[in-house]
């Protein structure tokens, strides 16, 4: 099994271990990344990235090479030495657009008792989000 991580998810997927390619079943791609292969391309929400002319590097036999699409989208993808754990990151452009929109990016994190809190739980209140660390 290959572990596919994003900032908000952790999925076990069937994939041949590789540090350059991450071929996943189309259904598994959606479950692991939120992106879906459609006739018009690789899509999430209202964004669709058309499959390039060398389609065989992106789509084959009902599988999607997520690593190729990630590179195409200028998003960081990092693999473990054996290619059995992947992290699919967010792109700088998308992140900066989000920061410049001034809409505070939502997140969900636990407190010390394990209870989860989301930023959106605090709508209608002013929030001072301030960091600290022991180190």
């Amino acid at each position: 099994m290959t572990i596919v991580l994003t900032e908000t998810s952790n999925s076990e997927c069937v994939a041949a271990p590789s540090t350059t390619d991450l071929w996943l079943d189309a259904d598994a791609v959606t479950a692991a990344t939120g992106w879906t292969l459609k006739p018009e391309g690789f899509c999430k929400d209202d964004i669709c990235v058309p499959t390039p002319a060398d389609a065989e590097n992106y789509v084959a036999d009902g599988k999607v090479n997520v690593a190729s699409f990630w590179r195409l989208m200028d998003r960081p993808a990092a693999a473990s030495k054996d290619g059995d754990v992947w992290f699919l990151g967010e792109g700088a452009t998308e992140r900066n657009d989000a920061l410049l929109s001034l809409e505070a990016p939502d997140f969900t994190l636990p407190d010390f008792s394990g209870k989860l809190h989301s930023l959106t739980d605090f709508r209608r209140q002013r929030v001072l989000l301030i960091t600290w660390a022991s180190w």
């Binding site: 900032e7 960081p76 693999a79 792109g91 920061l99």
Partner: protein, 201 residues
């Protein structure tokens, strides 16, 4: 922002804050909000809009004003740091009372101008950091350390990555030789970037 929750727990227990304390073991906020040090802060209004983007949260850079003979920071540096913290807290309180009418809350254009940008390298650093964190949790420490080394090179301005991933002293504080070497090499750069606030030293 501690990978090791147990390292943070006694500090937070002792401070027993009245506000909610969240644990960000994977430094998700560094990636989402482009944070590079602690304390950094973001002010978010009732609609979830940022009115002060990520900035130093009440500290100023006095690190290079340490007096080794006295074993302490120079008194004038301590006084400046104390004044900066008090001023920042007054600003937070003013915003808490007055909201959008507070002179410390930026209008959208002013807030946007102060947003610092991620780059492909910093986002790759965040990806490798989070991959490294996962591998470390699986016991693959050597592989994780190699990734952390890459992260520090990809995002040299991130003290969060540097201090989390370099050697800690017995106290748990990452303030050993490597830390001070990097601080002394800052040159014109600041350890805590100055913020735009009237009266802030």
């Amino acid at each position: 922002m501690d990978a090791d929750v147990e390292a943070a727990r006694p500090w937070v227990a002792e401070a027993s804050p009245t506000f909610i304390t969240l644990i960000d073991q994977n430094h998700l906020l560094s990636s989402l909000y482009n944070m590079v040090n602690v304390p950094q802060a973001v002010w978010i209004d009732e609609q979830g809009r940022v009115v002060r983007p990520t900035e130093t949260g009440g500290s100023i850079d006095i690190l290079r004003e340490f007096d080794p003979e006295a074993g302490a920071f120079k008194p004038e540096a301590m006084a400046r740091a104390g004044a900066a913290k008090a001023l920042y807290m007054e600003a937070v309180e003013d915003w808490a009372r007055n909201g959008a009418d507070s002179r410390f809350a930026y209008d959208p254009d002013a807030a946007r101008q102060r947003v610092s940008r991620q780059t492909p390298e910093t986002m790759l650093a965040h990806a490798k950091f989070q991959l490294g964190r996962h591998l470390a949790s699986l016991g693959r420490v050597v592989e994780a350390e190699a990734l952390f080394t890459e992260c520090r090179e990809l995002h040299p301005d991130s003290w969060n990555i540097f201090r989390e991933t370099t050697e800690k002293m017995d106290t748990g504080i990452a303030a050993g030789e490597a830390f001070w070497g990097k601080v002394m090499g800052l040159g014109e750069k600041q350890y805590y970037a100055s913020i735009d606030m009237d009266g802030m030293p």
